[in-house]
């Protein structure tokens, strides 16, 4: 196979990986601050995907335009979820949190199944088959838009955490829970905000993924798992790590799908996870665990 093919597939993998990275970033932010593993992460993404599908098929609203509104809906959803159901669980053992979120995941996935049936839905945008040519490189328009939007969204989130007072307060909560309480931060509200931001990330990622694939209600667990793999690969608690992990996994999957059969591609993602856990448990960009 000519080198061009590999290059094109790898570039496609990078762009998809950026979207994966944004999805994983949501999980990383939630775990890094609230210390709860969101086992309903993939299901939250499918919610966003189906909102995008419905808006497109009923009102012909382009997913890229609806990116921010849908992310906002997911933010409210995440905020409410943390403030009501999850907050009492933050001091409970891991398995108890796990059960709560698995129950939520079951409810969300099957509610979607009742509403939309088991079949895949697709969004046929005008630019679905467009592509750009840069020399010998051919890039799908949809993938390029999705990748760029993911980078912009991630950059905005970085800025929020780095330069705003709220971001500073959230980072303070993550660094030292007791300290944050002592200086008078409203930790409960900040946790809800963080969960909302995480949900907004995965919501935005879901809207972009609608351009790249057809959603079904039962997509959730696979993507929850993928988000874990990416977060651990990149480094838990490291925001750039999530993006780097996403790109690494995206490229690996794309090349594995090309070299072998597409059905084995996630095996390579798990292989990377195992290697990282063994030789660099803190992740590629993670800080060494205390």
């Amino acid at each position: 196979m000519p080198f061009d093919v590999y290059l094109n597939v790898a570039v496609g993998g990078v762009l998809t990986g950026l979207v994966y990275g944004l999805m994983a970033l949501g999980l990383s932010v939630i775990f890094g601050v609230v210390r709860v593993v969101n086992f309903a992460h993939g299901e939250m993404m499918t919610v966003a995907m189906f909102i995008a599908v419905v808006l497109f098929s009923w009102f012909h609203l382009d997913p890229l335009i609806m990116l921010l509104p849908i992310a906002a809906v997911l933010f409210v959803f995440g905020y409410a979820l943390q403030a009501s159901l999850i907050n009492p669980f933050i001091t409970r053992p891991e398995h108890s949190q796990f059960l709560l979120l698995v129950a939520l995941a079951i409810i969300i996935a099957n509610a979607l199944l009742i509403m939309f049936g088991p079949d895949a839905r697709s969004v046929q945008t005008a630019y679905a088959y467009d592509s750009f040519q840069l020399g010998r490189l051919i890039v799908d328009a949809a993938k390029l838009y999705a990748g760029v939007a993911a980078v912009v969204f991630t950059a905005a989130l970085f800025a929020l955490f780095r330069f705003t007072l709220i971001g500073k307060a959230i980072r303070a909560c993550a660094d030292n829970y007791t300290g944050a309480l002592v200086v008078g931060l409203d930790v409960r509200r900040l946790y809800a905000l963080t969960f909302g931001l995480g949900a907004a990330c995965v919501g935005a990622a879901g809207v972009m993924l609608v351009l790249l694939m057809d959603p079904t209600p039962m997509l959730g667990p696979g993507y929850t798992l993928l988000a874990f793999v990416i977060v651990i690969t990149g480094g838990l608690g490291s925001m750039p790590g999530a993006l780097v992990g996403g790109v690494l996994i995206g490229v690996t999957e794309a090349l594995a799908g090309l070299l072998f059969t597409p059905s084995v591609k996630s095996m390579f993602a798990f292989a990377i996870l195992v290697l990282v856990l063994l030789f660099r448990p803190q992740g590629i960009l993670g800080r060494r665990l205390a």
Binding site: I106, N110, L112, P281
Partner: protein, 334 residues
């Protein structure tokens, strides 16, 4: 306290156990075929839940990938049966060391590098998923088209080949559930059990007290995996068909662990009670739905999810500990 020294159960607890066991032994004469199949399912989950509980409930190591041990063992036994004509009990002899070895590999990799907590849980999922995709693409085991055991009408029950009526399967899984209950009861009252509990409560303190935590965590994974492997063999011969997509799937792993968490983690009765509660709930919802003629795919699972949610919100320790206190048969706090 009136606890008898030799068994560790209070007199009332022993009486309760005896009544439950008697009811389960007598059940095939009292229920129809459908209910018997439900009981088989309940005992299957009681068994796997008990096996998982050794790792999580006793030693505090959260495994979310027990479908790996079930799947591997079911494939080993089924392959030996269909290709070599070797019966399930010999298949079990091959499956147990294999499952234990897999558990040992995962445990060794994780515990050597201090991979713990959520990371460890994800590692167990990763191995199960790895196996799922691997088997799904492995022609030798028929890949995704699945493996089928020959189903014939058997004139009599053949316990040696595990071919026969649902009643025979019921007694096999009942015996296994009783055995694993006794085994867990034995282990938890021995040195190894106390070491596990010490590790679960505070690993650093356990190490400081001179416990070889690496070794005892390895024992926990291997015992749990080895015990789970019988469930895999049983699964293969009870359902007669195996698909990687099904046996290794993450939802299988989750099914295994819901029972003990709902019932009460770290208790001996929790996994049994949890299996009754969850499978009973699922089947009741099925019956109610079909009675009302509701044919809505997903509706049952939504109710199921809501019930799970309510239980975990209302009963943080599971159903069994508060129930045991009410019945006056509480196990000692562990």
């Amino acid at each position: 306290m009136t606890s008898s020294f030799s068994t560790g159960f209070s007199r009332r607890g022993a009486a309760l156990l005896a009544v439950l066991l008697a009811a389960l032994v007598a059940a095939p004469w009292m229920v129809n075929d459908y209910l018997l199949t439900v009981l088989v399912l309940i005992l299957y989950f009681a068994y796997t839940g008990q096996a998982w509980n050794v790792m999580m409930g006793f030693a505090g190591q959260l495994s979310l990938g027990h479908a790996l041990y079930v799947g591997l063992s079911s494939y080993v036994a089924a392959m030996m049966f269909t290709r070599l004509g070797v019966g399930p009990w010999l298949g079990l002899l091959a499956a147990i060391p294999l499952a234990a070895a897999c558990g040992a590999i995962i445990g060794y990799l994780a515990f050597r590098f201090r991979v713990a907590g959520v990371y460890f849980a994800i590692l167990t999922i990763a191995f199960a998923e790895f196996a799922r995709i691997g088997f799904d693409n492995w022609g030798f085991v028929n890949a995704s088209s699945g493996l089928f055991l020959p189903v014939k009408q058997y004139a009599h029950n053949d316990l040696w080949q595990l071919r026969g009526s649902p009643t025979m399967f019921y007694y096999v899984i009942l015996a296994a559930t009783v055995l694993v209950f006794v085994l867990c009861h034995f282990l938890i009252h021995r040195r190894i059990g106390y070491f596990w509990l010490a590790i679960r409560e505070d690993e650093e303190a356990a190490r400081a007290a001179g416990i070889d935590t690496f070794r005892y965590k390895m024992y926990a994974v291997m015992v749990s995996a080895a015990v789970t492997s019988f469930a895999g063999v049983f699964y293969a011969f009870f359902y007669n068909n195996l698909f990687p997509e099904q046996v290794f799937s993450i939802s299988r792993s989750i099914e295994i662990i819901l029972g003990p968490i709902i019932g009460g983690i770290g208790t001996l009765f929790g996994p049994i009670l949890g299996a009754f509660v969850l499978t009973g709930l699922a089947e009741t919802l099925n019956a109610v739905m079909s009675a009302f003629g509701v044919e809505l795919p997903g509706a049952r699972q939504v109710f199921y999810g809501v019930c799970l949610l309510l239980v975990v919100v209302a009963l943080p320790d599971g159903v069994w500990p508060p129930l045991a206190r009410r019945l006056g048969v509480a196990e000692r706090k562990r």
